[in-house]
Amino acid sequence: MKFTVMVNEGPYQHQSSDSAIQFIRAALEKGHEIFRVFFYHDGVNNGTRLSLPPGDDRLLQKEWSELAKEHDLDMVICIAAAQRRGLMDAKEAERQGLDANNIIDGFHISGLGQLIEGGIQSDRTIVFGD
């Protein structure tokens, strides 16, 4: 089956990000395809490069980044939600005349259409949020 997974909350604040990543790992292990992971609302914060949680705890942003690389996942951060919350990739930062970018490898910024397209193309769409 092809899955599109929507992640509506940021790391640590809610369990949604953990639930989503565990679900996706299990789905991949079963041989399913993850068509797209779409990060919306505070979910865009799963894509930050600059986090440093305590050493004995999980580093969610990095786990997402590595999962994306390992399985060649399409992980989309919604541009509108990202702009509201200050998530920038290099291209967008330059376009906006900002002095830094903070997105971690494995995520890319795109539009809400990607979510709808995911719903159309996938067999199942699952939302993790609050």
Binding site: L115, I116, G119
Partner: protein, 134 residues
């Protein structure tokens, strides 16, 4: 591109959280994809479409007018649950007058709000192929 039945479920009041605003943004984008789109307003979601919203006292942008534009985007199925209104001391009169223009009927203006009871809402939800919650 295949056509699926998409439902956007709204259960939260506006302004206390961002969900109402950002879910509306998804709906407006979804309109471009030629899908069979419905919106559901249950529980506190009914507050998203009350009339007379005045946000000047709280410093947030009043985005309630955007719901009026849905008709122009061919989004004409806004299911509102009667029990959710009644539980909150509201009636349909408290809601905005949301309409769409039916091009197959000489552009006649028709209501977009479809009042349903819980059982009818359940049945509509059961028909959906993609359900997005915020």
């Amino acid at each position: 591109m295949s056509t699926k039945k998409f439902m956007f479920v709204n259960r939260k009041a506006p302004y206390g959280t961002v969900y109402a605003l950002e879910s509306l943004e998804v709906v407006l984008i979804a309109a471009a994809f030629d899908q069979d789109i419905s919106l559901a307003f249950i529980d506190d979601g009914v507050y998203q479409i009350t009339k007379g919203q005045d946000t000047t006292g709280i410093g947030q942008k009043n985005f309630s007018n955007a719901y009026k534009a849905l008709g122009d985007y061919d989004i004409s199925k806004l299911y509102v649950e009667k029990e959710s209104l009644a539980e909150r001391g509201l009636t349909q009169d408290d809601l905005m007058d949301l309409v769409w223009e039916d091009e197959d009927d000489d552009w006649a203006e028709k209501p977009s709000i479809i009042m349903v009871d819980r059982a009818e809402m359940t049945a509509v939800m059961a028909e959906q192929e993609v359900t997005l919650s915020f």
